[in-house]
Structure formats: structure tokens, C-alpha cells
């Protein structure tokens, strides 16, 4: 086929049923995956498949505390999990935090585990370091910090944040 024909090539046949189904199935997947974030997703910080590459939420930081036993001793997550998972927990990804909690329940059977997750809602609005997030929660207004999980219940019993 000559070069110019690429420009003027016209489709002469009609779409077969099989091709039509394939096109619309793929199209559905392409649209449903990002739409799911806005319609059905209950975790705003889980932005996978939503094409939110440089979104404001991406730069929000969260503090996740795993509190063990009645004394509520804070566990050091990095002793059980790779720092990459701890990093995802710091982004407030609830699916990951829930899985981490489940693992800790297995690791410390017969002990209560409370999970407290606090996230910035306006990153940079308070000029303190991430390490001071919990202190900041006391100082900052409610608008600046969101309590995603209050850590009131034993996670090992409820299985939910």
C-alpha cells in the first residue's frame, strides 16, 4: 500500500460482533478502573488505577501506630515489615494497614491490638516534621489532621480499622 493511501485509507467493512465485544470490554475496563475511585472506593488515599499521579492526596502524610496489649505499647512496624510497606502505611493505604494489622495479630496472639491512623489533610499547613505528626494532632485544628482510625477497638477482634 503506498504512503498516501495511509492518509486516505477508508474502512470499508463493518465491525464484526467479536471485535465489537472486544472493543467495548476493553473500554469498560479502561473507564471502570479509575471511575471506581470516585464512585465506590472508601479509601481516598488508595489512588491505584485512578490516574492521580500528582494529586494533592499523594503528598499527604499519615502516621500509623500499632498499639499492643492493655498498656497500648507502640510497636515499631519496621521490625516486622519491610520499610517499603511501612512507607505505604505512611501514605494511609487502608488495605495495607489492615493486612499489617492481621499479621501482627498472628504474631502476638491473645493480645489486643489497636491501630491508630492520623493523616494530614492539608500537607504543609503546619510547618513541623512528619515525626511530630502526633504532637501536631494535638496542636493543629481538626481541619489539618484527619483521624482515619481512632484505635478504640481491638483490631484482632473486629478485623477492621
Amino acid at each position: 500500500m503506498s504512503e498516501s493511501l495511509w492518509y486516505i485509507a477508508q474502512h470499508t467493512g463493518t465491525m464484526t460482533r467479536r471485535t465489537g465485544i472486544a472493543i467495548h470490554a476493553v473500554l469498560l475496563v479502561l473507564l471502570a478502573a479509575p471511575a471506581h475511585y470516585y464512585v465506590m472506593n472508601d479509601d481516598p488515599r488508595d489512588e491505584r488505577f485512578a490516574w492521580r499521579m500528582f494529586s494533592p492526596i499523594r503528598s499527604e502524610k499519615c502516621g500509623t501506630q500499632f498499639l499492643l496489649g492493655e498498656k497500648r505499647t507502640a510497636l515499631k512496624a519496621s521490625e516486622t515489615f519491610h520499610s517499603a510497606w511501612v512507607g505505604l502505611a505512611k501514605r494511609g493505604r487502608q488495605q495495607v494497614i489492615t493486612a499489617m494489622g492481621t499479621r501482627l495479630c498472628e504474631k502476638y496472639p491473645d493480645q489486643a491490638l489497636r491501630i491508630r491512623v492520623q493523616c494530614e489533610t492539608h500537607p504543609g499547613s503546619t510547618a513541623k516534621a512528619q515525626a511530630a505528626l502526633y504532637d501536631r494532632a494535638r496542636e493543629a485544628s481538626d481541619e489539618d489532621v484527619e483521624l482515619v482510625a481512632r484505635g478504640l477497638f481491638d483490631f484482632c477482634e473486629t478485623g477492621a480499622l
Partner: protein
């Protein structure tokens, strides 16, 4: 033309020349192979503590828990297959195998949550159904069958969906006033440029560009404009210091599909001399079946040996992948000589990646990091020794190895590491402070003082370095200002 015809024309009427498809294939799969190899550095993150969360809960019961070795083989195999496809002539089964292998490597764990890898998973699935010239030309009916072009359009539609949802994500007051962009772009000349035009203006321009691109990429006459805006925008992202891997380069390769055919023809003509030479050579040299098998055996063995030279603990499995892929390729193409030569070229490409990227260095660094967290000092020492063996100029590798030696009570070895690191990084803070502490302990005053002073040049308020400096200035009777 009725609405139905227009709709069908939209999906089936996007014809792309064979030359352009070949150019796109080479560029895209080459960048893919490089990206896959770089992912090998992340393999040690998998399997730590036998903990994993896949992208979809149902996958946890189907796919194995990924381990470091498994993922390094998956990434290495992806890289090999990517290179093989870039060379052309691969069968459709190879494209399908790569799409599946990539899907496994991506969806198996949320450790890989890069959006551009999700885009790649979609793109590879579509590319497995692409109208590649060397796959469709055998089928006489396919030449006239416009239906084979729908995956090409779908790839562009996938880009439009991405751009449109990226715009939706930016319809937020913090993005619109530029504060989100200001937090993300923290360094470099792009930041200076944006400061000049204003953060809010730059943020709004990004939205306008993405909106335009979502539509322009479907209007053939406006493709040059789409290329200018799209490649320009993605290269701006690339040079803005955002940690987005090879995303910008992938996007640039996708824009090759929009190149005007006249431009592609010009490139094609420029390459006509070497291509005709290769064609003539092929016509003159008739390879018998037995010679073909001999070439296959020789080149595949050379490729396997070259792969064996790669300093990776899972290299034996990767070498078996080289052999397996070559045999499958020979069987599929029924051209063993070509399959063997292409396997060898793919291995040379992989070898080049090993020696031009920091994939392996990162691999051992992360592995040593895991050992350190597990308090396995002996193993950490082995892996940090690998890091400095691979890259003797890497400051962090030397300082981590020295710290591991110290944990094992090997102070002399630690000092030698600090000194080795300082040969290439004389101003590095950690190396200078570590060396100053050890010189101080060994009573080597002048050396301790010099190292402490160099550490203080980087961090003037460092307490440890200041104490060492003061101690030795008093002992040696020198002036702090000298």
C-alpha cells in the same frame, strides 16, 4: 456517513504504516527492557518477613507469595523478552507471554504501585493484539481487514482516559493554586522556570495541556501539535526531579505512533542502505538446516555464558530463561539461526544494562538493608561488600559496609571502608565523620582532625565532629581557624 459508520470508522480506521510500527516497537520495547532491568533493584523488597498484599485480594490465593529470587527472575525475564521483541520478528505468543509475565510481576504485590506500570500492563495487553507487520503480512486476508487496527486506536483511547482522569484529579483548590506542584517540584531549573511564570499558572497550564492532549491524539492532522505538547510536557516532568522512573520516556515512545508518515518515510529512506545490505546478505547466504541449528547452538550458548557473567544470585534461573526463550523462539519462527542470533543480541543488551545502570547495586544495597533490619550482620556484610564491589565509587555503600563492620567489631576493616569511600567522595559527610571517629579511637590525631574538619564543612553543627575537632586542636595545639 451514518453515526454508526463514523463510530466504526473511529475504531477501525486508524491505519499506521509498517515502518512506523517497527520504529515504535523498537523504541517502546527497548525502554521497557531497560525499565524491567531497573526493577531488579527492587526485588529484595519482596518476600521480607513473608508478608505481601497483592493488588486484588483474590490473587493472594492464586499467585505465590513473591520472593526476592522469584521477582528478580520475573524482572530479568521481562527485560530479555522486551529486548527480543524490540529486535523484531517475534511471534505473537512472545508478546502474550510478556504481557502475562508483566501482569504477574505488577499485580502480585502493592509494593509496585507505580501508575506507569499499570499503564504498561494495559499497553502490553493491547500490544499483544497489535497489527505488527511481521505477524499480519502472512495472512493475505488480514491485509484487507481493517479490524486488526482497533488495538492501535484503543491504545490512544487509553491515553485519553489517562489524561482526562489526570485532569479530574487536579480539579482541587490545592492543585489549582499551585501549592501541590510547589511541594512536588523542589529542585532544579524547571522549578526556577515555574517560579518565573507562577505556580498557579503552571498548574493550570498542565490541566489545559492534558485536556488538549486527550483530544488531539485522535486528530491525525493535529498530531504534530500533539507531539509538541505531549512530549514537551512529559519531558518537563522528567527534568523536574519527580520520582517517576522512566514514565516520561515511555510516554515519548508512545507519541511515536503519532509521527506523520512523511517523517517516518524520511527516516526509513535514510536507513535504506544498511537495510538493503542486510537484505542482500540474507538472499546470498543460504543457510541449511544443520548450519542453522549449529548457529543456534553457538549463539545461544554464547548468550547463556554472557548471562552467567552477571553477578546476581538468581542468575542460573535467568540463564535457563535465556535458553528456554531461544528454543521457544526457534520453534515458533522455524528459523533457528535467527532465533539464536537474536537471543545473543538480547543477552548483549542485558549485559549492557548491567554495566550502565545501577540495578544490581540497588539490588544488593536493598538486600543488605534487609539483613541489617533482621540484625543479620554477617549477611549484611556480604551484600554490602557486593555493593562496593559492583560500584567502588558509591559513598552510601562504603558507609553502610563500614557500619556493618563496626557492628561486627571489625574496626580496622571499617576504617579501610571509610578511607576507600573517601577516595571517590572526599567531601561526603558520613564517610568523613565515621573516619574521624575511628581515627580518634585509634589515636591518629592529625587524620582525625582533618576528617572532622571535612565533615564540619558539610554539616557545621555536627556535635560528634565538633568534639573530635576541639579535642585534637587542643592536643595538637592548632588553631581552629587554620
Amino acid at each position: 456517513m451514518s453515526a454508526k459508520n463514523t463510530y466504526e470508522e473511529f475504531w477501525l480506521g486508524l491505519r499506521v504504516s509498517d515502518e512506523k510500527l517497527k520504529l515504535f516497537r523498537f523504541a517502546f520495547f527497548f525502554v521497557f527492557a531497560l525499565d524491567a532491568w531497573l526493577q531488579i533493584g527492587n526485588a529484595p523488597r519482596y518476600g521480607f518477613g513473608d508478608f505481601n498484599v497483592s493488588h486484588f485480594p483474590f490473587l493472594d490465593g492464586i499467585l505465590p507469595t513473591p520472593s526476592r529470587v522469584f521477582m528478580s527472575v520475573v524482572f530479568g525475564a521481562q527485560s530479555l523478552l522486551g529486548l527480543r521483541i524490540a529486535l523484531g520478528g517475534a511471534r505473537r505468543a512472545t508478546y502474550v507471554a510478556l504481557a502475562l509475565l508483566f501482569a504477574v510481576g505488577y499485580f502480585i504485590s502493592q509494593l509496585n504501585s507505580y501508575q506507569h506500570h499499570y499503564l504498561l500492563a494495559l499497553a502490553l495487553a493491547l500490544l499483544a493484539a497489535f497489527p505488527w507487520p511481521d505477524l499480519c503480512s502472512r495472512d493475505a486476508e488480514a491485509e484487507e481487514n481493517a479490524e486488526r487496527f482497533w488495538p492501535t486506536r484503543m491504545l490512544l483511547v487509553a491515553l485519553s482516559v489517562m489524561y482526562l482522569f489526570a485532569v479530574v484529579a487536579k480539579l482541587d483548590s490545592e492543585w489549582l493554586d499551585g501549592s501541590t506542584m510547589q511541594r512536588q517540584i523542589t529542585d532544579g531549573w524547571i522549578r526556577d522556570l515555574i517560579v518565573d511564570i507562577g505556580w498557579g499558572t503552571a498548574a493550570k497550564l498542565t490541566i489545559v495541556a492534558e485536556l488538549l492532549l486527550a483530544g488531539l491524539i485522535h486528530v491525525r492532522k493535529l498530531w504534530p501539535l500533539a507531539i509538541a505538547i505531549g512530549v514537551g510536557m512529559h519531558m518537563t516532568f522528567e527534568f523536574s526531579g519527580l520520582r517517576i522512573g522512566l514514565f516520561s520516556y515511555f510516554m515519548a515512545t508512545l507519541y511515536l505512533l503519532l509521527l506523520p508518515e512523511s517523517w517516518v518515510s524520511a527516516v526509513h529512506k535514510a536507513l535504506s542502505l544498511p537495510r538493503s545490505g542486510i537484505k542482500k546478505l540474507r538472499e546470498r547466504v543460504r543457510i541449511s538446516r544443520s548450519v542453522g541449528i549449529g548457529i543456534f547452538a553457538t549463539t545461544t550458548t554464547l548468550g547463556a555464558l554472557l548471562t552467567q557473567s552477571i553477578f546476581l544470585d538468581s542468575i542460573n534461573m535467568l540463564t535457563w530463561c535465556v535458553i528456554l526463550f531461544a528454543v521457544a523462539d526457534a520453534a515458533l519462527t522455524r528459523n533457528p539461526a535467527s532465533a539464536g542470533i537474536k537471543a545473543l543480541v538480547a543477552c548483549i543488551g542485558l549485559w549492557a544494562f548491567v554495566h550502565t545502570t545501577d540495578g544490581l547495586r540497588t539490588y544488593y544495597h536493598f538486600w543488605g538493608h534487609n539483613d541489617r533490619r533482621n540484625n543479620d550482620t554477617a549477611s549484611a556484610i556480604v551484600h554490602y561488600e557486593n555493593v562496593v564491589g559492583i560500584d567502588p565509587t558509591y559513598a552510601s555503600g562504603h558507609s553502610r559496609l563500614a557500619a556493618s563492620y563496626l557492628r561486627a567489631g571489625r574496626k580496622q576493616d571499617a576504617l579501610r571502608q571509610y578511607e576507600a569511600g573517601l577516595l571517590h567522595n572526599p567531601k561526603n559527610f558520613k564517610l568523613n565523620r565515621g573516619a574521624a571517629q575511628l581515627y580518634n579511637q585509634f589515636g591518629q590525631g592529625p587524620e582525625a582532625l582533618a576528617a572532622a574538619k571535612r565533615a564540619l564543612e558539610a554539616r557545621p553543627r555536627d556535635q560528634v565532629s565538633n568534639q573530635i575537632r576541639q579535642h585534637w586542636e587542643q592536643s595538637l595545639g592548632t588553631n581552629a581557624q587554620n
